[in-house]
Amino acid sequence: MKFMKYSTASAQDVFRQNNPSTNDRIGLRELIAIDFFLLGVKGTDLTASFFFQFAGSAAWLLPLLIFIFLLPIIFLVTHLLSQYEGKSLLFISEQLLGRSLTYLAAFVLFVLGMAATVLNMRSYAQMTGIMFYGRTPLIFLYGVILLTTAYVAYRGLEAIGRVASLLLPYAVFSFVLLYFGVYDMMDYRAIFPLFGQGWKMISETILHLGFVVDIFYFALFASMLKGGSRTYKHGTLIGVGIAGVGTMGLIFMYTDVFGYPGVNQVLFHYQQITRIAHYGQFINHIEAAFLGTWILATVVHFALYLYTMVYLLHYLVRSEDMFRLFIPVTAAVFFAGLYPYRSEKLFFIYREWIVWILTATVYPYFLLLVLLARIKGGKKRGRKKTS
């Protein structure tokens, strides 16, 4: 496990270690921003269509519902991390499950993560292509977005965190701006009936908790957090909170602007809504400006995905230099993303499968770890025993 420690070339240098610019740590601000970009961007892609499918006119309440379901899990994971303060998730898993089972878990996490990365990224490229660049080949768009993402990821996790923390205010600002842009077109009556499709909503939400599994993938980097599990808890709660409010606002806007049954006929809600946003007589059709902020958010989002994948692969193949694995991972994502395109429906089916599998594997895995930590005992219990 020694090779997994994030060590720098001149770790001896005290200056380097104490220096916030060079100690490769993620602080609270960065974590909040990262969590926002992991989840908030999902309100702008096809996830919203799933929400409308589950909950009908109550789709805008789903982020709230998900947040409520996530709360106990976040607390449990934080508890797990606090028992092994300063250790990464895989280390904890090795302690509790043993090396071979952890290897298997990492493999499953890697494969599912790769599938999700490929599918989502391809869908983003498709969105860009269909909505803005009708004549540009999809492969080119996909490749360019992937390359930029890979570069951002290659600069390291702390660079992703810093970029995210710099962009967070602008992303939030663009949400607010969008709200004012469509303010006069909104019909609030569209959100009724308030609870949409009723009880079905809750069961579907639990089945599809895999949509927000990203924040638990981030527990892999718990050892890089500046304040340990405390930062993880606060950062995740605040970040997910902001993202949840943002997503709620977006879906609320979609419902009200397109009207309830009408919203089901719309594909790419966010891109459509930016088209009709206008400010006075003179400024209208500024979807290109929204495209800019959206692409920046997308790059941060997928950079984190890629970084996580590289990190997992690094664990799986036990390579010396983690950053060399960016080339195979990027290449794999690129070639896997060229899967034949038939219809958008196919994407929905694939996505739903992956979300189901993620829900069925990741959450039990975490719950198992929490349970084992409870039985075997972490740091605190160990201390009690010896005394």
């Binding site: 380097r16 768009l141 360019v144 930029t148 810093r162 902020t293 692409i295 920046l296 790059v299 941060v300």
Partner: protein
């Protein structure tokens, strides 16, 4: 990729940095020749060393010292002849008070001069090159150098590149002693350290390090010293510009040191835990570590009152984005996102481009290239015909090109705004970086419109936040967040700037008595209520 990344570093110096640490200091010492006792032999050796048969500058003046023969050697032009006559030769010709043999260092006739004994021929030749006359005495073990050089020099002048409307108007000169005096005048503390290193084999260049002991982090000084040691170990013939020898990433667009010609700016940075590096014969100081903010600020920001400084910084921030993005956004909007432009304006643009045969990208490259050409030419153009360039630029490139239907009038506006904005940036190096980066943005916009711009922006943002200057992040104290006085885009009132920039890890953390400052805020409700909290 990692291999490429390491290749892009200043490899040789980085490598030797580790080597120099292990290197035996004694081994690196130059071979030394002890001074011969006989005067004629020493003079012969020195003459050989300086090729005196060919070299007209090498001067010897024979005289006596008491009963002994003596000789004064100097290089013509580097010394003041009249001073030598009056201060050295005339007193030596006076008879000694008694026949006791006297050491020139304590000789009453010469004791008012700054005299240094030299035991080796190498030391003598160094002093001669530095413009010190050297007195050789027959039978003595040591020669004596008088520090009284008279190299031609320039008077202290107004700064050329960093003008301010309100503030000191002094700039560095080529003479290091004068520059040191200037810095000391702004920072009168015994803790200001001036360390000298001599680098270069053929041309000896003295490189000075300035820092304030007790404020600067010692490991920061150590880092720079190690690099200087590495350069010394490599025995370069000459160190033309120290910046390029000690910076980490020579291929990067971003400068890792702040270049300034203002002593007040150097003093202000030294007091905040930075290090200044100066070089002989070079009227600029390099300040390390530099962040984006130090390059973005001007000294006037702190001399001007708060609202004026905010206004000026806001304009500069705006100018930064204008320089970087105006042409790119124009291309993206006209090529890919036509619906963004209001219909009337779109008609006007289309109308003005009706007769232009070229695509927008070619047009803009043509104009940008011409503008850069004017800028480059105007630096080198003789001052007598300087005004011509304005006529050429304005008339030919502006009006005539439009009338000849080579470019559209709106393009002139775009390029003019870009050009004007690029002059608003205070730092020369960073200005270059933006101007070069602009072309990448133009290319990205031409290929993919706003998508390209956003992607390039994301990539460059990732680069810039992970770029480090001497181990300090380029975007500190913003990303990563470090406690500071918030002197970034805007600044606080001067009395509220009580925290040092902690990204440099200075030993002294505050600029004022912080507990007392905080207690003041607690007591003073009026202040507390109305204080602006960033």
């Amino acid at each position: 990729m990692r291999w490429m990344r390491s290749k892009m570093k200043n490899q040789i110096v980085m490598h030797y940095e580790s080597l120099a640490r292990e290197h035996d200091q004694k081994k690196r010492k130059r071979p030394t020749t002890p001074l011969p006792r006989r005067l004629s032999v020493s003079i012969k050796l020195l003459k050989e060393r300086f090729y005196a048969d060919k070299n007209a500058d090498f001067q010897t003046r024979h005289t006596v010292y008491g009963q002994k023969r003596a000789c004064l050697i100097y290089l013509q032009g580097t010394v003041d002849q009249a001073l030598i006559e009056d201060a050295i030769l005339a007193p030596l010709n006076h008879p000694l008070p008694n026949r006791r043999r006297l050491h020139p260092g304590i000789d009453a006739r010469l004791s008012s001069l700054d005299i240094e004994p030299l035991a080796t021929l190498e030391a003598i030749s160094d002093h001669l090159l530095n413009g010190h006359p050297v007195l050789l005495i027959d039978g003595e073990k040591e020669a004596y150098a008088f520090s009284m050089n008279a190299f031609p020099e320039r008077a202290i002048d107004k700064p050329d590149n960093e003008n301010v409307l309100k503030g000191p108007h002094e700039a560095f000169t080529e003479k290091i002693e004068k520059n040191t005096a200037l810095i000391r005048r702004y920072l009168r503390t015994p803790r200001l350290i001036h360390e000298m290193h001599t680098l270069g084999r053929l041309q000896k260049t003295s490189v000075s390090l300035f820092y304030v002991e007790g404020i600067v982090n010692p490991s920061l000084v150590e880092t720079i010293k190690k690099r200087l040691d590495a350069i010394e170990a490599l025995d370069y013939d000459s160190v033309v510009n120290i910046e390029q020898f000690i910076e980490e990433r020579p291929y990067s667009l971003l400068p890792s040191m702040l270049t300034t010609e203002r002593p007040d700016r150097v003093a202000a940075h030294l007091a905040e835990g930075h290090i200044a590096i100066m070089q002989d014969n070079f009227p600029y100081a390099y300040i390390a570590p530099a962040t984006y903010w130090t390059l973005f600020h001007t000294p006037e920001d702190h001399y001007a009152r708060l609202p004026y400084a905010w206004f000026s910084r806001a304009i500069r921030t705006f100018a930064f984005f204008l320089t970087l993005l105006t042409p790119a956004v124009y291309i993206a909007a006209t090529n890919y996102h036509l619906e963004m432009i209001p219909i009337d304006l779109l008609m006007a643009i289309a109308g003005s481009r009706e007769m232009v045969p070229f695509p927008v990208i070619l047009e803009i490259l043509l104009m940008e290239f011409s503008f850069e050409l004017i800028r480059e030419a105007s630096i080198r153009i003789p001052s007598q015909i300087g005004p011509t360039i304005g006529i050429v630029g304005a008339l030919i490139l502006g009006q005539a090109a439009v009338q000849a239907n080579i470019i559209s009038p709106i393009m002139v506006i775009v390029v003019a705004i870009t050009g004007l904005a690029s002059y608003a940036h205070p730092d020369l190096s960073f200005g270059f970086a933006i101007r070069i980066a602009r072309f990448f943005f133009i290319a990205a916009a031409a290929i993919l419109g706003f998508l390209g711009i956003a992607l390039l922006l994301a990539a460059s943002l990732a680069y810039i936040v992970s770029f480090k200057s001497f181990g300090v992040g380029y975007f500190t104290p913003w990303a990563p967040y470090v406690p500071s006085s918030h002197d970034v885009f805007l600044r606080k009132p001067l009395p509220d700037e009580t925290i040092m920039p902690l990204a440099n890890l200075p030993l002294q953390k505050t600029k004022a008595n912080r507990p007392r400052y905080l207690a003041l805020k607690e007591k003073d409700q009026w202040r507390k209520k109305r204080r602006w909290r960033p």
